[in-house]
């Protein structure tokens, strides 16, 4: 079936500003958008540039704006999109080239919330015990693949480059609500600051954007509640 991909192209070595370029391709309705991009790159124009790796929605490389929504190119099939598809880079980070954006700020924000288990008690010979219910408490936020779809869908991120953004909060949540972790207070202090959770205006774009189905806004609200009521339950 014939599809037209309208792709925002930009190569800093030769272009003054980004411009759309159209490609008409023969694709199956069950092909992924990534298959369309590959077809262009491999058969027509090798200079088309995008990140990709696993091809099935678990590595987080190929988040981009597809018909105005942040999606993973490998997790959206052509049949969901109509015959004319617009593809742009994520918004909020500088474009390196075509659909590749600079991820430095994203990973810096992630690192800022201390995204690792903080537990100074020396563990016993076996595993630390954790009940299935305690484990379930933070299950949703363990699914994050750091694709940046949520953070770059957030209008607060677009206007305030200091805001840590939804993805960093999700990863803080993953530890704050882990019964084994003792660093919750430290992380809550960070998230209570100028660039933390209070910048969130509950727009829900992040929840809509998450390709892993994480209830991102809910996680942010749980962190806010932990700060307000000084309890982590």
């Amino acid at each position: 079936m014939e599809y037209t991909l309208r792709i925002k192209r930009y190569n800093p070595d030769q272009d003054v500003k980004p411009a759309f370029k159209e490609y008409t391709l023969d694709l199956a309705p069950t092909d992924r958008v990534l298959d369309g991009l590959n077809q262009i790159k491999w058969n027509h124009d090798g200079s088309l540039t995008y990140r990709r790796s696993c091809g099935h929605g678990v590595c987080g490389s190929d988040a981009m704006r597809i018909n105005g929504r942040n999606r993973l190119a490998c997790k959206v099939l052509m049949q969901e999109l109509g015959r004319r598809v617009t593809i742009e880079p994520l918004i909020g980070y500088a474009v390196v080239k075509d659909l590749v954006v600079d991820m430095d700020q994203f990973f810096a924000s992630y690192k800022a919330v201390k995204p690792y288990l903080i537990a100074d008690d020396s563990p016993s010979a076996g595993e630390r015990r954790q009940s299935p219910a305690q484990r379930e408490r933070f299950d949703d936020t363990t699914k994050c693949i750091l694709c940046a779809a949520c953070t770059t869908s957030c209008p607060i991120t677009w206007t305030n480059e200091n805001f840590v953004g939804p993805a960093a909060i999700v990863n803080a949540h993953r530890f704050i609500f882990d019964s084994r972790d003792q660093g919750g207070a430290e992380r809550l202090r960070i998230l209570n600051g100028q660039s933390g959770v209070w910048r969130c205006r509950t727009v829900f774009n992040c929840t809509d954007a998450c390709p892993r189905g994480i209830e991102v806004t809910k996680a942010i609200e749980e962190v806010k509640r932990a700060l307000l009521y000084e309890q982590v339950v």
Partner: protein, 576 residues
Amino acid sequence: MAYHRFDAVIVGAGGAGLMAAIQLAGKANIAVVSKLYPPRSHTGAAQGGISAALGNTEEDHWQWHMFDTVKGGDYLVDQDAAEVLAREAVDAVLELEHMGLPFNRTPDGRIDQRRFGGHTRNFGEGPVRRACYAADRTGHMIIQTLYQQGIKHNVNFLDEHHLIDLLFTDDGIACGCVTYEVKTGEIHTVHAKTVLVATGGYGRVWKITSNAMAGTGDGMAAAYRRGVPLMDMEFYQFHPTGIYKLGVLLSEAARGEGGILRNGDGEAFAARYAPTLGDLAPRDMVSRFIYQEVKEGRGVNGEDYVYLDLTHLPPELIDEKLPDITDFARTYLGVEPKTEPIPIQPTAHYAMGGIPTDIEGRVIRDELATPIPGFYAAGESACVSVHGANRLGTNSLVDLVVFGRRAGKHMLGFIEGNALPPLPTDPEFAARAQLADILSRPKGIRATEIREEMQELMMDKVSVVRDAAGMTAAKERIGELRRAFANCAIDDKGTTYNTDLLEAHELGCMLDCAEATIEGALARTESRGGHYRDDYPNRDDANWLAHTLVYRGSGGLEMRKKPVTITEFQPKERKY
């Protein structure tokens, strides 16, 4: 150019590379090079579990795990290595838990365990619950946890740096590597006392594969080009349950939790071939069962696929324990696994072979196991050999953490005892020449044409079932494709994020891996584990209870045999 000096450079930021990095962090000055961002590494796509004889839900012993690993590998496993794997798996899994890995739990709060193919109680009596897991995203949780630890320990990451070449002194001592910084096109010399290659597999050589697009054998090819042999490359695992046509993996955990394979007649055929383990027989066997069913006309609608049936499982079990893979079936096939069977076919999945190492992770240069000073390898890119002729499910993750950890610890000792070796003259020369060669050709064949033909050729001639005629033809054609590659041209000549250039470079690496695979497969005139030949259908211990080493020298390819280490378990017929 840019120059960096470290005690250790680790190439590859998957499970093995990061596990090694964590051993060294804070004790030595190290860098971790990744062509992606570390959490994007393919370890993250592993699903079902990581085995360790914790005995949390039923009796288990590491000796049983060791036996299963040896038998699963059709007795080509080096048994000293299998002992290390099974024994240290217990500690390694607990260490992951201590680092924060969110395993599923038993009602009393211990790490939960489930069944997996080829893992048995009491030396083969029946299935055992040995696989520790985090839903069906165990690999995701491992890569996340290890990356988090890397951040905690301030590991120096060189993200989006592509390995182009490995560096050795004139005396053959490892002294670093050359990388290409993707964002800027700048070449970097990373000068180091020790080098660990942990760059993963090369599944992209085949058309239908579960591997990420990054799985192009870069580290293996770089070593091979520098005269390091590749070991047991003929043993490449086809996982039985890939999504039809797409190749995306549906974990063996689906069968561990009770899923059943059915042919076009609706028959649960696995038990006909493997009476004791049935659907939980090792992967090489189940892939051949499927091949046989399809060949005899019992594929679904006479086509080349069968069904993975989960419809009899409780829906809440599917949601709790297999959420991701059932989501893949919905997304890519439009199939609801709770009510419909899933079309599957074998998919190229895992390299048992690779860069040969000893049990400390040191790369060895010959059949006498002579180590190359300062040079280490771990994970899928290495061959210890713990997987022999066929890897058991979950043992890849065990391999990563156990031997990544051992390599890291051994590197630390090496760093303390050795000075920084000198760089060779003009260390970037070969790397620059390789890339300049591709960039300089104004016109030529597209890399795509070569890549697609290679992938179809390997799928057709060098996959689940092989023979001399097919492989001889494949060898000849790969040779021609290699020559065609020397004339390939690309569209993008720029320096900013040039993935056109890197994909061409990766194609060169894949052609090297394909060449070594065929060389081993043609030489090995027997069937064993994942290497099955129609023309030599039986195992031949008299001639082939041995590893193969393939070298590429100036005079062409050279093949040598290396003896298998046997300690506890004498080779027997492999039945399940």
